[in-house]
């Protein structure tokens, strides 16, 4: 017994019938094939699944697909424009802000949310804003540097 939902993902409109209990992250990954959004904990604690819903960062592992009906979603796959990296993508590359890359999409989306709200955050503000996103590889050092660099470039 599916529920019909309409939503926009990365600028494209989709109409799909979904199981009411399907998590948004599995809808994106398994129905739409957008596997850039990762699942690390299924309890909204690691942040690997962070996406933007109507411009706000949310954790897609604890939201149902049906809740996203009528909304506009951006995932890591939709962040670049016309083939140009988003300043955060560029900065993560330039500053070695990733190692294994598993947390990276969520980390970049959470940082994108921050920079929308505050275009020139301090290091402390960046660290506070990213505390819901876990990285086991980088010790956050270069992630923070990446976000600060993207902010400087964008202001």
């Amino acid at each position: 017994m599916g529920v019909r939902i309409n939503l926009e993902v990365n600028g494209e409109s989709y109409e799909r019938e979904v199981e009411p209990r399907q998590l948004l992250v599995y809808f994106l990954r398994e129905e739409l094939g957008l596997t850039g959004t990762n699942v690390g904990c299924e309890t909204s604690l690691c942040g690997a699944c962070t996406i933007l819903v109507d411009g706000q960062a949310i954790k897609a592992c604890t939201q149902l697909a049906v809740q996203a009906d009528g909304s506009s979603i951006t995932t890591i796959e939709g962040l670049a424009t016309n083939g140009d990296y988003h300043p955060l993508q560029q900065a993560f590359w330039d500053c070695h802000g990733l190692q294994c890359g598993f947390c990276t999409p969520g980390m970049i989306m959470a940082a994108a949310d921050l920079l929308q709200r505050d275009s020139s955050p301090s290091e402390t503000e960046v660290r506070q804003a990213l505390k819901g996103n876990l990285c086991r590889c980088t010790g956050y050092h270069n992630i923070v540097r990446s976000v600060m660099t993207a902010a400087e470039g964008g202001s």
Partner: protein
């Protein structure tokens, strides 16, 4: 030759990973793919009276339900073996699904295979298991006490092995003449490795072609070999293991676990692809944990603070079964490190490995060396207290001097090169050590509630463990060489097939740098292939900080062979003597006559045209090396932590973290620094927050992120890094390895800093994690709360 080595080239891995294009195992799907969910024991120790799968089998979407008995009744080996043996080691069988007894919370009992991920998980809850609960043995040392429950009948007293190293008589004699003795009882806490990507496997089977297993692996060939030898019924050449993007490992994806074998067995039995992806709780319950030592140690010193002898007794939990390399970790990766950076004339260590009703324990980032370093460096601080010397001075007086290398320790290892005092001085200088001590005194005099602590840790790491004949004599059931095939194409571009297997370390970049540097070809003309047993030569994989030193050296050796063969063809084309040629700037030329030269591309093309190559030379330009190092490599350094402890709340803030590391030559300094950053954070996590906690009944209390506390961005400072370079003298690149250094140093660094902050309260030692409550109690134990 070139200047590509030593340059911070941006990573070629990143474009896929910053755009979401990188494919991790769970991102992959195959036509007809099914999902597996494993039914796990909620008991730490119980007999299985019966398993009723009927309701699960009838549930929506379920294709099959199998129990341990189904696997036992099949042709499959059905076990996961241990890959490192010690004298008199007890090796009870570890079935991939339990048949009559479960031995830890998370032990698998049955597997449900269904059309959908949710359907498999739903049906798994319908499998009814009738358990007869048994008492559990949980504590690494307590498990050996009389009357404790027995984890395995064949291991009386729960002792898996009792191992020792060093000269007990000499140590006993040393203590007789000691002016000072520093002693400690400590527990090195148990941690969950916690890669952010949970383990996963996607198995597909074709009766003609065999099994293709895509999985979260740090060493695909090791997984293939163990899978074939013991777990499933297929010869090695009919198994292809592929590691797609791997989302962190930290040791946890070295080991051969039951789950990936179960998925493979199911795919073979059903004839459709089967995917299994761990939930976070499954990961915390079943990934092999790290550390979990209970240790008593004593250090004897003379009146000048010089170490005379060191004795150690450690109980090391193995968990419920022996994981792949588990017996090696507390023995040959821990016991052999007991000399640290110090010239110790007498050492003896005894390690008792014990079975407990907990998740297995195996290598986790650092593997034995963080435990060794923690013990030695805590004792050096206690030695400073005993002797009245500054912690840096007691270390300095005991360093192996820079002119004493190679240095033979009393615990088997021979250090290749080092300069410990220079690294210490650099770190002290960078930290402003004297000013920090002055600030600390000022605060203490003023009765400041913000207690300043300064912690120093001088560490050594033994990595790239080798040569194979030696590790074989120590019990390894594998060699520890690495392979590299370098294929030069007719147009002069290059593909490297490496036995290393990166999961965040950036090999596609650093290995291409080695090729570009040695051959003079542009980086964009070099590709690196790893992680697929169908493409690469037999390789040992990535762990133990070994990939640059062993895997990179294998590439360098193959490049030497390529250049040597190229020189023969070039000499033939130039009608010159090979000995008159030199290879530089991507061409061979006659020494002294640079206009008489033949370009790299012309030699490569001729190698494949074979119209005009010297007699006795085969066409083609491709070379393979299995590089077996002459010795371990020995990175080292000094880390300094500066912390503030709030005496009113017990909370710790890390104000500064200074790291001076020496990993020999650096191929890509940006990547080296990234490894140090991550390594530091990993160890800080253990020092301050992380702990895998079992209650007395063997229930894991920390199976989710709600109760297992990983370091977060706002809890860490930016790190202050510097380095010294003391090249490794015995490998072609002069590199030593850097993947684990931070994790080896930082638990002791931070703990020493916190204990130093608490010195006015007379606190001499506290076990990790240094949680606020523990600190508060230590400070206020004499008061009414």
């Amino acid at each position: 030759m070139g200047s590509v080595i030593g340059t911070s080239v941006k990573r070629r891995e990143d474009p896929d990973l910053i755009t979401g294009k990188g494919k991790f195992t769970d991102d992959l799907a195959l036509p007809g793919m099914l999902h597996a969910s494993i039914v796990r024991s909620p008991h730490a120790h119980a007999r299985i009276r019966s398993v009723d799968t009927s309701r699960a089998a009838a549930a929506a979407g379920v294709v099959a339900v199998y129990t341990g008995q189904d696997i036992a009744d099949s042709e499959a080996g059905g076990v996961v073996p241990v890959g490192w043996l010690l004298p008199n080691l007890k090796t009870p069988a570890h079935p991939i699904l339990a048949v009559d007894t479960v031995r830890y919370v998370g032990d698998g009992i049955a597997v449900v295979v269904a059309e959908g991920r949710y359907q498999a998980r739903d049906a798994a809850e319908l499998v009814a298991v009738d358990y007869e609960p048994l008492d559990a043995a949980v504590d690494a040392k307590g498990a050996t006490a009389e009357g404790q429950p027995q984890v395995h009948e064949e291991a009386p007293g729960n002792v898996a092995f009792d191992w020792d190293l060093g000269d007990k008589t000499a140590v006993d004699a040393a203590f007789e003449g000691a002016a000072h003795v520093a002693s400690i009882d400590l527990r090195n806490s148990r941690i969950v490795p916690f890669a952010i990507e949970p383990r996963a496997a996607l198995a597909s089977y074709d009766p003609e072609k065999g099994l293709t297993l895509r999985m979260t692996s740090q060493n695909p060939h090791v997984h293939r070999l163990l899978m074939s030898l013991a777990s499933i019924d297929l010869p090695e050449h009919k198994i292809r293991v592929i590691a797609p993007e791997v989302g962190g490992g930290f040791g946890s994806k070295i080991h051969h676990y039951p789950d990936e074998a179960i998925a493979s067995w199911c795919a073979m039995r059903i004839g459709r692809p089967v995917k299994w992806t761990a939930t976070r709780s499954e990961t915390n319950m079943t990934d092999a944990h790290g550390r979990d030592h209970v240790t008593h140690a004593e250090m004897a010193l003379d009146g000048d603070g010089k170490i005379l002898g060191f004795r150690v007794e450690t109980y090391a939990a193995m968990g419920a079964y022996l994981s792949t390399f588990a017996p090696c970790v507390p023995t040959y990766l821990h016991g052999t490190l007991m000399s640290g950076q110090y010239d110790m004339p007498a050492i003896h260590i005894r390690v008792i490995g014990t079975f407990t009703n907990t998740a297995p324990v195996d290598a986790v980032r650092g593997a034995g060396r963080p435990e060794a370093t923690f013990l030695i460096e805590r004792l050096m601080d206690l030695a400073a207290l005993e002797t009245g010397l500054d912690p840096t001075e007691v270390r300095r007086r005991n360093f192996v001097p820079a002119d004493a290398f190679p240095y033979q320790t009393q615990v088997a290892l021979a250090y290749d090169s080092g300069d410990y005092e220079t690294a210490l001085d650099k770190a002290l200088d960078k930290a402003g050590y004297a000013e920090l001590r002055a600030e600390q005194q000022k605060r203490r005099d003023a009765g400041d509630s913000k207690l300043l602590g300064i912690g120093v840790c001088a560490y050594i790491e033994a990595c790239g463990i080798a040569p194979s004949a030696v590790v074989g004599a120590l019990g390894a059931q594998a060699g520890l060489y690495e392979s590299a095939k370098v294929r030069v194409h007719p147009t002069g571009t290059v593909t490297v097939f490496s036995g290393s297997s990166a999961h965040g370390q950036g090999h596609l970049t650093t290995f291409a740098q080695i090729v570009s540097d040695r051959l003079g070809v542009p980086l964009e003309n070099v590709d690196v292939v790893e992680g697929d047993t169908g493409e690469i030569p037999f390789g040992m994989g990535t762990y133990g900080s070994r990939s640059a030193a062993v895997g990179g050296s294998a590439i360098a050796k193959s490049l030497d062979k390529i250049i040597a063969k190229g020189a023969k063809i070039a000499a033939h084309l130039l009608e010159a003597s090979e000995s008159d040629l030199e290879f530089a700037d991507n061409a061979w030329s006659v020494k002294g006559s640079p206009d008489k030269s033949v370009a790299w591309g012309d030699v490569c093309l001729q190698a494949y045209l074979a119209h005009n190559i010297p007699e006795g030379i085969e066409p083609g330009l491709e070379e393979t090396t299995f590089y077996d190092p002459a010795n371990f490599t020995y990175p080292f350094g000094t880390h300094i932590g500066v912390v503030e402890v709030d005496s009113e709340t017990g909370e710790v803030e890390i104000l500064r973290y200074i790291a001076v590391d020496d990993c020999g030559e650096q191929i890509n300094p940006m990547i080296v620094e990234g490894q140090v950053h991550g390594g530091i954070a990993y160890g800080v996590g253990q020092a301050l927050w992380e702990e895998a906690v079992y209650d007395d009944h063997g229930q894991l209390l920390t199976s989710t992120l709600l109760d297992y506390a990983l370091p977060k961005a706002h809890q860490l400072p930016s790190f202050e890094l510097d380095h010294t370079i003391t090249p490794c003298p015995h490998n072609p690149l002069g590199v030593k390895g850097i993947g684990e250094a931070g994790t080896i140093a930082s638990p002791a660094t931070i703990t020493n800093a916190v204990i130093d902050a608490l010195a006015p309260y007379g606190v001499r030692h506290l076990d990790m994690p240094l949680e606020p409550e523990k600190l508060w109690r230590a400070m206020h134990s004499g008061e009414d709360a």
